[in-house]
Structures are given as structure tokens and as C-alpha cells.
Amino acid sequence: MIFAAVDPDDLASCVSCGLCLPHCPTYRITGNDSQSPRGRIELVAAVRGGEIPLDDGVRHSLNSCVQCMGCLPACPSSVRYDRIIAPVIDELASTSARKVMVKRFLFRALTAIAALAQRLHLMPRRFPIPPVAVRMRRLRVPAASKNNRGEVILFRGCVMDMWYRQVHQATVDVLSRLGYNVRLSDPGMCCGALHAHAGIAEPASKLTANVRKCHSGSILIVNSAGCGAHLLRHAEGLGEVVDVMEFVSRHLDESPLDLGSRSDDVVVVHDACHLRNIQGSHLATHRVLDLFYEVRSIPDDGLCCGAGGAYAIDHAASAKHIVDRKNEAIQSVLDAQVRYISSGNPGCSGQLQAHRPQTWNALTIVHPIELVARALGSEDRHQSHHQGDADRS
């Protein structure tokens, strides 16, 4: 049976009400039922039940899902779309060997070759990966102290560590200021989220198992929403996996920190799908930033930006279409006071950065923890790599 791994009860729990439709980025740009959560669920059910064949049309519908999980919190019946789509993507990927090869290559490219290519200016400008800092700084971590409130581990990951080291620094700074001893995870340790997203199950689970082995029982602070969501899903054995903003939000009250004065700057907060739809912790970012800045939400119900793991590379045209829509929504809340767009996920930051309109030159795309570090006056003011367009040419 095709899609035998999908739980029939999960499929049956969809009442076809359509309340998930507007929360799906691919439906939003096409208006097609075959590009909607309701449609995809019905297709899986129909193929599984032998009503329709698994043809290219079905494959395309299912593969073009960004896996943003926007449909998950939108569904009043609590249909577990995540449990439905994951085995489907695995099965589709495993029946298409060529695709897997291409994707494996892509991932290697993502982590190493791309970095080099970028430095050599070989990377297309619209590629959704930010430029790598020419001089990568070593992370400075204050010495542990017995008086502190405990130890946390900063999960460095692969993409974050390579491209967003300044975010790591800001994370270390803020956590230290909150009174925690910070330890770093091993460099290069990858959680396997991207692989899982692309349906390459085997390396994904190996990588995840490795993280579990190294850090069982610890509090793992993650500042990449994508990694956090993936680790959370496979959290058994890990002490606690928590997004950095959620952690700060929880512990800010207990700390003797002087929050200083509010800034006049306005921050537009982009809620990463992995925070909003999977971890359900996006409000923490709003709560924390609200202490220091005027915070604006994007008036599109948290629709995905089209980054979705390797989606922006795999389905470039749709991803572009989706992010254009996102940009329009952002544009509607912009004015002269807005200085930052904050995003808690490297994938989203890269996607927004690659497709930012020319008119946004004065805006900086930052991780919210960088804004907190800045507001707390952390001595180390690392410049974000996204300072306007200047360094992108």
C-alpha cells in the first residue's frame, strides 16, 4: 500500500472545513486546492485508499508543501498534519533516487562549498543564504562561576555557526548577563533538521541521535527556530530544548538586570513558522522585545516566508512568490521609525535578506537576541552582517 506509514486516524480526523486554507503559503499564492493542506490530506487519503494513482500531479502537490506547519495551529480539529506529511515526504524521496542524490549534494554545498563560493562571489545574489563574514570571530564565553544560577548549553548547529556567529555571541552575552554559565556545543554538530525536512530520513536520524548522545540531560538553548523545532520533536533523552527568546522571557523577571531605557527604534517581528506553528513560543519574542522597543507584528497571521529548509532552493519560483507576499505585508507596517526586522530563524533571515526590496536600505534584519544584547548594552556590540545593502554588492 502506498503511504502505509500514515496513520489512517490522522487522515480521518480532517473534516474538510477549510479553516486551514488561508494559513497555507502555497494556497495563498495559487488559490489551488491541490496546493492546500486540506487538498494534500485528501490526496494522501485518496492515494492510500487506492482511489487515485500516485502520479506526477500528486507528487508535485505533496512535494511543494513548505512544511511550515501553518496549518497545524490553524486546525480546530487538531489534525496532525506533521505526522501525515513526514512519512509521505520520506516515501516520495526514497522512490526518487535522483532527487536524493541532488539533495545530498545540496546539503554538502550548503555547509561548505557555498561558503567558499560566496567568498569568491560565485553565489547568485538572490540565493537565500546570507554572505559569510570574511573574518569569523571566535566566540567569547565568560568563565563559569559557582555563584551563577546554573549551566546551559548553547547549541551551535551548522548553518548558524557558519553564517550567524554574531547571533551566538549575542546569545552568550545575554545568557551570561542573566546569570547563567554558558557552555558551547561541539562545533559542526548538526541536528539533522534540514535533512529531515527534505525527506532524507537516514542521515537525519543519525545526526539527531548524536546530539542526544552528547547532551543528554542538559538544558539546550537553541537560537535557530528550525533546529529548535526539530530537536524538540526528538527531545526524548535531552534535558530540555528551549528557544533562546523563550528562555530569556522566562528568566528575565528573576534577574537583577537593569533594563535601561526604551529605545525609540521600532522593530517589525517576523514570526518564524518553527516558533509559531511548531514550538508555539513566538509570543516570547514579542514579550521580550516589547520591554525595549516598540514592536510591530506583520498583519498576515504569521504566514510563512517560503524559506522552509531547502524549499527556497528546491522550489525557487514558489518561494519567491511567497516571500513577495510576505514583503508586501511587511511593507504595510513600515514607516520611518522602523529600523529592524527581527527573525528567530536563519532560514527566514536569509530568505528575507535575499528578496528584500531596494527601498528597505535603512532596515536591518536581525535576530531578536541581538536586539536584546544591544539594548542591554552588552559591551560587545557585534555588527550584524545585514547592515543595509552596503555589504551585499
Binding site: 480521518a12 480526523s13 480532517c14 473534516v15 474538510s16 472545513c17 477549510g18 479553516l19 486551514c20 486554507l21 488561508p22 495559487t30 488559490g31 489551488n32 486546492d33 491541490s34 487538498g39 485528501e42 490526496l43 485518496a46 482511489e51 487515485i52 494513482p53 502520479d55 500531479g57 500528486v58 502537490s61 486546525c75 480546530p76 480539529s77 487538531s78 489534525v79 498583519p299 497571521d301
Partner: protein, 690 residues
């Protein structure tokens, strides 16, 4: 073959025939499955015209599709129809914030429209629970309403004009001016059978400055239902009165975590909005009444976020059902408010006897019930056919116990429950599109009556008198010959009214759609007309509409008759929705700007500039009056005199510039209703319809 030729013509939007796409467009949110033979997503009017012309020439049936959230299978293609998805036409064409209207394409989502105009302090009032997903086109086709239509009315009160493509490909604009009959009104609720809407001019409503949203728990559903009746009977019309029974509250709570109490028998959500003093006074009265009816739990939303989550809970109720069973069968029916408790009791009783699981979540303020029957389609013997008859029994048995009700057909073949007259699906207007839809059109069973006087302008000759005034239901049934003055005095005795000038007879007011200077909103003609008894040109008596506070789907004959100047039928009796008279009413005359006022009762041109009527709580009225610069207060009679001079046009339109397509429809309507041209022959001749 036909399909291939079609696709050639439509380069931009070729007919899709991919197996999986057809599988998906063959279903919507109902339990009904169709069999589409193709689907197409036009991007503009021209493409719609091409498609319909081709379909017409080849007699290929077609069905328009919005978001496919309809619960009655309206968008499901039968007989191998072609599905025309309107999702490719989703632009807001223009917004006039001062004039408070917008032109939108049919694929715009209801909630997106409100979001887009929020910065002007406006919104689109109809708020079906599916509002985040459903389209304006679907709203128009289904005449959708939502929790807040208790005070603001259903879609037909908020659509000013429709640009539509008819089944032969002709493009028409339907509004109240372009034809002698309100074809706009007839289009709304016609479920895609009149034509395909390609642009809609919607009325935008000012956002209320103040809200009170309260969740009230009752030990029994009966107590809640009685409280609802008592609130309306006390002359308060909240903006929403929604009820959920205990099982559905539990299902919803586990999804939204709104803090709904789980130990109550029924939950009532009361929302009052408007100006602060009036809101506070009304909510206080509502809560006093609830306490008198043994409310066991009262919680008022303190923040906007809290209010939003309460509404999210209510609006996702249908979806949350799957937490209990994966499929549901929905009935949608309106019963008189005061019989809510009784009907609900009966439904529960029958369901128990038939061993069916039933849940209730409904618009209590309108008496609009939605009993949901839960089932699992995978269970042996449930599908098809076995569940339906039982559920049909359920509602027909429970609602026929009511004197009157209107039913939105929830099955593809419309089934009528109770008397045939409750179905509002009558004659097919001139061109019925959707050739393939096997909707059964019920025509009235005419009872021949001697028709002595068929000229509406002489309707005084008809018998007069108020037949039934039900102040608790806000409904009055009156003979057409009754004078407006007499009616006003009867209503006034219970502090109720109609906002129609007290001139002439009721029949005359209806036939000429005489709103006078009053704004054409939910409290104006034709929106206050619920049911009409009339006699057509051949002497057949018929009934249109239903005698409950809300009527929605079906060809709206009432709209066609109101404002037709007696050329289609002679109205003999009408049931009208009344309105409580507000606590305070003051009149002002002046010349300044009135844009800052919140929904004033009336702003009319007069010889001194503008005549403004402010109504509501005395303190609110005083505050609003302070916003009027260079205005003088005057006595109501003087004010009315001033405006009437200017705005009550008593004569019928002289010659109408009708487009050929509209003219054709009107002529066919005329010959359908009055083949021998015995009704208002002069006017009919003047309009070229005779």
C-alpha cells in the same frame, strides 16, 4: 472534445484535467462528492465571459467555486460539470473610505477585506464563522451571515452592486438603479444559479469604538434560551448572542483554551458594541436578565486578546467537532426565538431515541439553529443514505413543530422540511445558469384567488390591519392596506418602530421601496421584509420568504417584489422586522462635516445643509453632538419637514436605461409573473416590459 476546444480558446487559463486536481475540486466542506470533468481559474472578467460563452454554446454545465467552505455542497460539480475557481480573481479593486464602500473581486477572502480596510477604521460586517477562509463571492452566493448579523444583517444588507457574467456570457451590473426590479437582491443567495459574480461593491461599516464581550454559563440550555428571549424582549439588540451546548464547549475549549467553563449546561456569548455609555448600560441589563435566569458563570473579556480568543472559540466550533467524530452533518434552520428551548429539547429527545449524537452551536439571537449530527464515515452502514434520512427526520420533526421556519438546504437536492412555503426557492429567473445542478426548484402551490384590485398604487383598497405583532420576536405581520401611521402607533405602544416614513400604506411603502431619507442599511427596505403574501397577475396567491427573523439562501423573491412598483404582483400581507426605539433621539441642522460621527441614525441633505439625527444612550448622544460644529438642535417635526421636502421622491422612475441583458431578464420576469400585463400596465409599458 468539448474540453479540448475550450482549452484552446483560453490560452491564459486552460482547462485543467489533472486527475488529482479534479478529485479535489469535486468536493467542498460538505459530505457531498461530485465528478468534475475539468476546472479552470479565470484571471479576469474577459476570461469568465469566454468560458461561459463556450459552456453555453456546448451546453456544458458549470459550477462556480470560491474557497469551497460551503456546507451545502453548493460548489460541488455534478453531472461532469466544469468547475470555475474564482480564486484567481482576488484583488480589491478600489476602496472609498469616505463613501464607505469598496469594489472587490469575488476571490477576496472575507477576513482579508476587513483587514485591508482596518486602517480606515472600517470592516465588512458579515462575519460567517468561516470568515478567515471563505470568499466574498461565496458570501454573496450563499447570502452568508455570522454571529454579528443579529445587529448588522446578512450579506444582502452589505452588497450595493454586483458585476456578474450570465450563463450566455453577457456581463451585467446589478444594483438597485439599473433595473426596475432588485436583481441585485435576487442574485444574493442564489447559490451560483443566477450567474458568476466577477466584482462586488460592498458596504463597509465603521468599527465600533467600544465593546463588551461576556461569556455567561447556564446550568441548562433551556435557561440560556430563555435568557436570550428575555434580552430581546427587553428591547436590547446586542451585536451578537451565540450559544454553545456543553459537549461542543468541551471540544472547543480543548482547542482554543479560552477558559470556557466546562461544568455548565450551555454557554452564551453576549457582545454589545457601539458607543461606551450605551454599551455599558445594555450589557448591564443583559447580565441582570441572565442572573434572573440563573446564570451560574459570568466572565467579561478584559482585553482585545481575550475577546479575540472567545470569538476564535465560537468560530472554530464546527471544525473542533472532529475531536469527537470525524464527520458531521449540519442542519441550518431558523425558528422563532421564543421556541428555541422547546425545539432544542425536541431535537435532543429525537436524537436520543434514534441513537444519534447531536451537538448544538448556534446564533441564538436570530433563533438560527445548527444541530450537528456526528458520525464516522468509516462505520459500517453509515454512508450513504443511512445517516441522512435519520437526520432529516430529526430536523423535520423538530422544526415542523414550529409555526414557521426557513431552512437552508443542507443537501444537494434541496429538501423542504414542513410546509412547502418555507422554502424560498421559487421560480427560476430568466436565465438559470449552472445547467448541471440538480437542484430541485420548488414553485409555490398557487391557490387561485379572486384578485379584485391589482394596481399597487391603489393598494389602499386592500384590506388593512395589523394581524400579529410579536414584540418579543421583533416581528410584525400586517395587511398591505394598513397605513404606515396606524402601524407606527401600534408598534410605538411597545416602544418599537420601523425606520420608514409614516406616509401612505404598508403595501405602497414596500412596492415603491420608500425608505425616505433613512440610510439603506439593515433597518431599511428591503432588508426588513421577512415574508410577503402576494397575488400575481394570473390571480395566483403565493408566499415568499419566511416569518422568522432571518432568511438567507434561495432565490429571494421578496427582494424582487419590494420596489417593483406593483408590476410583478400585488402584495397583500407582509411580515416585517421591527426595531426597539432607542432611549434618546436628537436632531440637528447645520452645514459642517459629519465624518467624525459614529454610525449616526440619519444624515440627510436639507435646505440648510445637513440634517443629522443622533440616537442611543443620552450621554453618548451628548458626546456625539459635541462633535458637530456649527449645528443647531431642532425639534423632530421641523427636521422631518425639512428633509421630506428634499428627499422623498414619490414618483416611479420614468424611463430606465436598461442594458439588453437586464432588459431581457426583466421582461421574462414580468411575463412569468404577469403574462397578461394586468398589473400596473401603464408603468410596465413605460418600462417597455408590457
Amino acid at each position: 472534445m468539448a474540453r479540448r476546444r475550450l482549452s484552446k480558446k483560453l490560452e491564459g487559463s486552460a482547462i485543467g484535467i489533472a486527475r488529482h486536481e479534479l478529485h479535489l475540486v469535486s468536493r467542498d466542506a460538505s459530505n457531498i462528492e461530485g465528478n468534475a470533468s475539468g476546472w479552470v481559474k479565470p484571471a479576469n472578467v474577459e476570461e469568465v465571459v469566454t468560458i461561459l460563452r463556450d459552456c453555453h454554446a456546448r451546453r456544458i454545465p458549470f459550477v462556480a467555486r470560491g474557497a469551497g467552505t460551503g456546507l451545502a455542497g453548493g460548489a460541488v460539480p455534478t453531472m461532469g460539470s466544469i468547475v470555475i475557481s474564482m480564486m484567481g480573481m482576488n484583488r480589491i479593486r478600489s476602496v472609498d473610505a469616505d463613501g464607505r464602500f469598496a469594489w472587490v473581486e469575488p476571490g477576496v477572502l472575507n477576513a482579508d477585506l476587513s483587514r485591508a480596510v482596518a486602517r480606515h477604521g472600517l470592516h465588512f460586517a458579515p462575519d460567517p464563522s468561516s470568515q478567515q477562509s471563505c470568499t466574498i463571492g461565496g458570501n454573496v452566493a450563499n447570502n452568508s451571515g455570522g454571529p454579528h448579523c443579529l445587529s448588522t444583517g446578512v450579506t444582502s444588507a452589505h452588497v450595493l452592486a454586483i458585476e456578474a457574467v450570465l450563463s450566455d456570457g453577457s456581463v451585467v451590473t446589478l444594483d438597485q438603479e439599473s433595473s426596475p426590479f432588485d436583481l441585485r437582491g435576487a442574485f444574493i443567495g442564489s447559490e451560483g444559479m443566477f450567474g458568476i459574480a466577477t466584482a462586488i461593491k460592498v458596504r463597509l461599516t465603521q468599527n465600533a469604538p467600544h465593546h463588551a464581550t461576556v461569556v455567561v454559563g447556564f446550568p441548562t440550555i433551556d435557561g440560556g434560551a430563555r435568557a436570550v428571549s428575555a434580552i430581546i424582549a427587553a428591547g436590547i439588540v446586542p451585536s451578537a448572542l451565540e450559544m454553545m451546548d456543553a459537549p461542543i464547549t468541551r471540544a472547543v475549549e480543548s482547542y482554543v483554551h479560552a477558559g470556557f467553563p466546562l461544568d455548565v449546561g450551555a454557554l452564551l456569548i453576549i457582545e454589545v458594541d457601539g458607543l461606551p455609555h450605551g454599551v455599558e448600560a445594555d450589557i448591564d441589563s443583559c447580565l441582570t436578565i441572565c442572573r434572573q435566569h440563573e446564570a451560574s458563570y459570568i466572565r467579561r473579556a478584559q482585553t482585545d486578546a481575550e475577546r479575540a480568543i472567545i470569538w476564535k472559540g465560537r468560530k472554530t466550533a464546527f471544525g473542533a467537532i472532529a475531536r469527537i467524530k470525524p464527520n458531521y452533518y449540519l442542519h441550518d434552520t431558523v425558528v422563532p426565538r421564543r421556541r428555541l428551548a422547546e425545539v432544542l429539547g425536541k431535537i435532543g429527545h429525537i436524537a436520543a431515541a434514534e441513537n444519534l449524537q447531536v451537538m448544538n452551536v448556534f446564533h441564538a439571537g436570530d433563533g438560527n439553529l445548527h444541530p450537528l449530527l456526528l458520525f464516522d464515515r468509516r462505520e459500517e452502514g453509515i454512508m450513504p443514505g443511512e445517516c441522512y434520512p435519520e437526520s432529516t427526520v430529526l430536523v423535520s420533526r423538530s422544526v415542523t413543530s414550529c409555526r414557521s421556519c426557513s431552512t437552508k438546504p443542507a443537501l444537494p437536492r434541496s429538501r423542504s422540511f414542513g410546509e412547502p412555503s418555507i422554502l424560498r426557492v421559487w421560480r427560476i429567473p430568466a436565465r438559470c445558469c449552472r445547467l448541471g445542478r440538480d437542484v430541485e426548484i420548488r414553485s409555490p402551490r398557487p391557490r387561485a384567488l379572486g384578485c379584485e384590485d391589482s394596481d399597487m398604487t391603489r393598494s389602499k383598497g386592500l384590506s388593512s390591519g395589523v394581524l400579529r405583532f410579536e414584540p418579543d420576536e421583533l416581528i410584525v405581520t400586517v395587511r398591505a392596506g394598513t397605513t404606515m401611521e396606524e402601524l407606527a402607533s401600534v408598534l410605538g405602544s411597545k416602544r418599537q418602530r420601523l425606520r420608514i416614513p409614516a406616509i401612505g400604506t404598508v403595501g405602497g411603502a414596500l412596492a415603491t421601496r420608500r425608505n425616505g431619507p433613512f440610510p439603506s442599511d439593515n433597518f431599511a427596505l428591503p432588508n426588513i421584509v421577512l415574508k410577503i403574501h402576494a397575488v400575481d397577475g394570473s390571480g395566483n396567491a403565493f408566499v415568499a420568504g419566511g416569518g422568522t427573523v432571518k432568511n438567507v439562501s434561495g432565490f429571494d423573491l421578496v427582494k424582487l417584489l419590494v420596489g417593483s412598483w406593483g408590476t410583478l404582483a400585488t402584495i397583500t400581507e407582509a411580515t416585517l422586522r421591527t426595531e426597539p426605539i432607542p432611549g434618546c433621539s436628537r436632531w440637528f441642522v447645520g452645514a459642517g462635516d459629519v465624518g467624525a460621527l459614529y454610525r449616526p441614525a440619519l444624515v440627510a441633505p436639507c435646505r440648510n445643509g445637513w440634517c443629522v439625527n443622533l440616537e442611543g444612550h443620552p450621554d453618548d448622544v451628548a458626546q456625539q453632538a459635541a462633535l458637530l460644529e456649527n449645528y443647531d438642535e431642532i425639534a423632530p417635526p421641523a427636521a422631518l419637514e425639512m428633509i421630506e421636502l428634499f428627499s422623498i421622491a414619490e414618483s416611479p422612475p420614468e424611463r430606465l436605461e436598461m442594458t439588453p441583458a437586464i432588459f431581457d431578464i426583466c421582461r421574462r420576469l414580468k411575463s412569468e409573473f404577469d403574462p397578461d400585463n394586468t398589473l400596473s400596465p401603464l408603468l410596465s409599458a413605460r418600462w417597455g416590459l408590457a
